[in-house]
């Protein structure tokens, strides 16, 4: 039940989103834009995390006859593999052409 509670309540903080988006776009984004970004970011994280759990299950199959085995935490390799598969299997991540635009390479449009 606590997991569901966390699932309902947790979100990507609007303040952090504003800081990031304002820096990237060099403008002060509207509140509803921050709400929208925070909303779909949560969906995005869910997709990646669920895929990472699949990867974990494939890499390290749980022993079916041991019901008392505790769950193992997700490791960076699971998450990186999940992210790689996500990019490969869905055409949903915008191509990062601008990253080669030079500068700090962190995506800022205005330095």
């Amino acid at each position: 039940m606590e997991r569901y509670e966390t699932f309902r309540r947790a979100n990507i903080s609007r303040g952090g989103v504003k800081k990031l988006a304002n820096a990237v776009l060099n403008q002060s984004i509207a509140n509803n834009v921050a709400v929208a970004i925070s909303g779909f970011s949560k969906v995005f994280l869910g997709e990646v995390i669920e895929r990472a759990l699949d990867v974990q299950r494939r890499m390290d199959p749980p022993y079916p006859l041991n019901p008392y085995a505790s769950q193992k935490p997700l490791l960076p390799e699971h998450i990186r593999e999940a992210w790689r598969l996500y990019k490969q299997e869905t055409a949903l991540v915008p191509a990062a052409h601008w990253r080669r635009a030079g500068g700090q390479g962190d995506g800022r449009m205005f330095r």
Binding site: R3, T6, F7, A10, N11, I12, S13, G16, V17, K19, L20, A21, V24, L25, Q27, I29, A30, N32, V33, V35, A36, I37, G39, F40, S41, K42, V43, F44, L45, G46, E47, V48, I49, E50, L53, Q71, K72, P73, L74, L75, P76, H78, I79, R80, W83, T90, A91, L92, V93, P94, A96, W98, R99, Q104, G105, D106, G107, M109
Partner: protein, 121 residues
């Protein structure tokens, strides 16, 4: 992702660590996720948000606009039914809350003016 290499030259802004940790538990990880895993996910999320902002800015630029609007993000998400649906749901809920607040304020005002005997009218 070039920046996920072994060494990092620059420090990445740590904006969402607590949020990411909570969401990892929420979506199925252990209650106390690995610190490294949180960091990796946070990086991925930050890059994704930055990429989406660029996409939305591109949309805005095609109509000679400087400021991005929610519609720009919605167009950027046009092929992603899940996230698009979430954004539309949030818009609808926000509108409902706004409408509900408006009705509440109106009824408050009316009852107050009645108790003062319509002096201000």
């Amino acid at each position: 992702m070039a920046t996920e290499g072994i060494s990092r030259k620059r420090k990445r802004p740590n904006l969402f660590s607590n949020d990411v940790r909570a969401l990892m538990y929420a979506f199925g990880d252990v209650p106390n996720p690995e610190r490294e895993s949180i960091a990796v996910l946070e990086d991925i999320l930050t890059d994704y948000i930055v990429d989406m902002c660029h996409e939305a800015a591109r949309m805005a630029r095609t109509t000679n606009r400087n400021k991005v609007k929610v519609d720009d993000f919605k167009f950027a998400l046009r092929r992603d039914y899940r996230k698009l649906g979430r954004v539309e749901e949030l818009q609808r809920l926000s509108k409902e809350i706004h409408e509900a607040r408006k009705t509440f304020d109106d009824s408050e005002g009316k009852s107050l003016s009645k108790s003062h005997g319509d002096k201000d009218k």
